[in-house]
């Protein structure tokens, strides 16, 4: 939760400075952020490739456990697709791109802003990126606050699936508390796999 507050703080600081005006045009147009995004993706790759534990974790996966991240992905994408019928402004692919952030708000909002630009134009791409940022922060908050409720009415896997990509770090404590200690490993595995899927799904729905 502290991490999310810092992220929102940086975003808000940017908003204030941007609204104040007087900044170089190039900063605002987002050319710089494309290259910083490339830098970020390279680092994400580095961390995946050099992770020593990842190999062991991937080896210890039993096929049945893959059903949990699969449920998260299928459930989220189905309902996000349904919402596109209500939001006339946004297409099916736009809604799926926002949904496939799976609460990983920082990466998904940046990817959407950059990758939707060729098809939607700068204005709409920035709007959709802002929606992605807010929607995925809200999802993390819902997963944190709703965990006891989800566990009680929809079973112990529900708080895990609600948490999306965050179930290995920010939402792990509440999940452990309400879904039980037995599911810690499932929760971490779920978080890692959903987290890894975010860049693929978001880029796919932006293409």
């Amino acid at each position: 939760m502290r991490g999310s507050l810092i992220v929102v703080g940086f975003f808000a600081l940017g908003c204030l400075l941007g609204a104040g005006g007087g900044l170089p045009e190039a900063w605002i147009k987002g050319d710089a952020s494309l290259y910083v995004l490339y830098l970020l993706m390279f680092q994400v790759g580095l961390s995946i490739g050099s992770d020593k534990k990842l190999k062991e974790i991937l080896r210890s996966i039993r096929p049945r456990l893959l059903l949990v991240p699969l449920a998260t992905i299928v459930g989220t994408l189905t309902f996000s697709a349904a919402v596109s019928l209500l939001l006339v402004k946004w297409s099916l692919m736009d809604c799926l791109a926002v949904g496939s952030g799976f609460a990983y708000y920082s990466l998904s909002s940046i990817l959407i802003t950059q990758l939707k630009e060729p098809s939607l134009g700068v204005q709409l791409a920035t709007e959709l990126g802002t929606i992605a940022l807010m929607a995925n922060i809200m999802r993390e908050i819902m997963a944190l606050l709703g965990a006891p409720l989800f566990a009680r009415y929809f079973g112990r896997l529900a708080p895990i699936c609600a948490g999306g990509a965050t179930t290995m770090d920010t939402t792990l404590p509440v999940i452990t508390r309400y879904a039980g200690k037995k599911l810690v490993f499932v929760s971490i595995l779920h978080g890692i796999l959903v987290d890894l899927s975010v860049p693929f799904f978001v880029s796919f729905f932006c293409s």
């Binding site: 975003f11 605002i28 961390s47 995946i48 490739g49 949990v68 802002t130 999802r139 699936c161 609600a162």
Partner: protein
């Protein structure tokens, strides 16, 4: 799209080859700072964008709808998977 994924794969390859290099295990910290920088830059373009600032409430409403949908969908799917495949693990 392919540039971003391609760069990530290049990173995975480089990370795997260099996995014994000590400082690579700290790349998580620099990812965090890069994310701060990127969200600051995203904030700059959002703040400078009158149309977005004026419509923040509308955009927030749309975001809320998508957040509720995503959470509901995955909770229901979790319930289905739990019922069909993990029944013996359930108490009561």
């Amino acid at each position: 799209m392919f540039t971003v994924i391609g760069i990530m794969f290049a990173g995975i390859g480089a990370g795997y080859l260099l996995r014994r290099v000590g400082w690579l295990q700290k790349v998580g910290t620099s990812i965090t700072y890069t994310i701060y920088l990127l969200l600051f830059l995203l904030g700059l373009s959002v703040g400078a964008n009158r149309e977005i600032v004026d419509n923040l409430a509308t955009l927030g409403g749309q975001a809320l709808l998508l957040a509720v949908a995503g959470t509901t969908g995955s909770v229901l799917a979790a319930w289905a998977v739990g019922n069909w495949f993990f029944k013996e693990g359930k108490r009561k």
